[in-house]
Structures are given as structure tokens and as C-alpha cells.
Amino acid sequence: AQRVTQPEKLLSVFKGAPVELKCNYSYSGSPELFWYVQYSRQRLQLLLRHISRESIKGFTADLNKGETSFHLKKPFAQEEDSAMYYCALIGTGGFKTIFGAGTRLFVKA
């Protein structure tokens, strides 16, 4: 069965500190992995996807198939990064995107 696990419900860091939001997945094939973000009073939106292999707003995520992980990282957190972050996957040729429970990131001044 497809499953996305985000072990941390809340992550609090100081401004300028590194941040890592963990995501592990369960899928028998080769899924596509995503990070979506929801800022306060804004719509849920795509942050990045693993096939793009790009950095968005300083965030990067590397797909580790051996560990079935797709952790989101940023070397220096900013206050404007405070938001709800969801890890998600979609299976090969599938129509369904499965989301994790989400991690709320709070960046303190």
C-alpha cells in the first residue's frame, strides 16, 4: 500500500539555523515525490518535486530510494519559511496523490 510518513508534527527552529523536515514513503514501484507548502492564509501549493532536482526558496530535497526517504532541507531557515509542509507521492501511471500528515515549521526570530 502507498503510504507517506512525516514523523514530526511540529518543528521549531531559530532563524538562520538549518532545518530538515523528514519524509519516508512506502511504495513498491518508482513513485514521484513532492513537497507542498501552505503558508498562513494562503492556498496549498507545490514547493518542489524530485524529478525537477531544483532548489526552491532555498529548499532542496533528494530522493533516497534505498532509505525510501525524501527529506526537505534548507541550510538557513527564515521567518517567512514558517508554514505547514506536506510530503506527497504519486505512483507510476497513477492518478492519486497521497499526502503525509504534515509538519508545521515554526521559525523563531
Partner: protein
């Protein structure tokens, strides 16, 4: 450009009353359409998805149903609401094969 509209934004309904949440997409054709429920600590739960007019796939047994009467219209309904139907409902669309979802602003339903 493509836009997605979802309404009503908030709704307070008594137990046992019917429900209709509507979602429409503009600027695209034959989108994949989705209904999710967002609950604190539980993430986004996929309720229904549709890959074409009249084609509805249900993910979880529940008190809700979905319909797609037109290409870019997706409706979430219930004949009799339960207290447990309270929550935040999100509509989303994606281009067939593109895999990225674009979400609506959401509808907050409170059942009393």
C-alpha cells in the same frame, strides 16, 4: 491561465441536512479533479477523484458522494450530514499525466 474556484468558503449545517460543495476549473480541458479532506494531524485524505465526466472513484467509505456533471465541475455532496463530516475540504485539479496538483481555497464545513 488556469484558475480553480471553490464555494462556499464556510458552511454551518445541522446534523441530517444535505450538503453541496462546488468546485470549478477554468482555462483547461479534461482535468483530473480531486476532493481532499484536511484534518489537523491527519494530513490530506483523498476522498474522490475523477478523470472524466461521470467518472468518479471513491477512496474511502463514507457519508459523502461526488459527481462530475461537466468537464470542469466537481461537486461534493451528502444527503444527510453527520457530526464527523465536519472539516476542511479541498478541491484540486491536475493535468492528465502532469502529476502536479493545484488546490482551491477550501471550504470549511461545521456540522452542529
Amino acid at each position: 491561465s488556469q484558475t480553480i474556484h471553490q464555494w462556499p468558503a464556510t458552511l454551518v449545517q445541522p446534523v441530517g441536512s444535505p450538503l453541496s460543495l462546488e468546485c470549478t476549473v477554468e482555462g483547461t480541458s479534461n482535468p483530473n479533479l480531486y476532493w481532499y479532506r484536511q484534518a489537523a494531524g491527519r494530513g490530506l485524505q483523498l476522498l474522490f477523484y475523477s478523470v472524466g465526466i461521470g467518472q468518479i472513484s471513491s477512496e474511502v467509505p463514507q457519508n459523502l458522494s461526488a459527481s462530475r456533471p461537466q468537464d470542469r465541475q466537481f461537486i461534493l455532496s451528502s444527503k444527510k450530514l453527520l457530526l464527523s463530516d465536519s472539516g476542511f475540504y479541498l478541491c484540486a485539479w491536475g493535468e492528465s499525466g502532469a502529476n502536479v496538483l493545484t488546490f482551491g481555497a477550501g471550504s470549511r464545513l461545521t456540522v452542529l
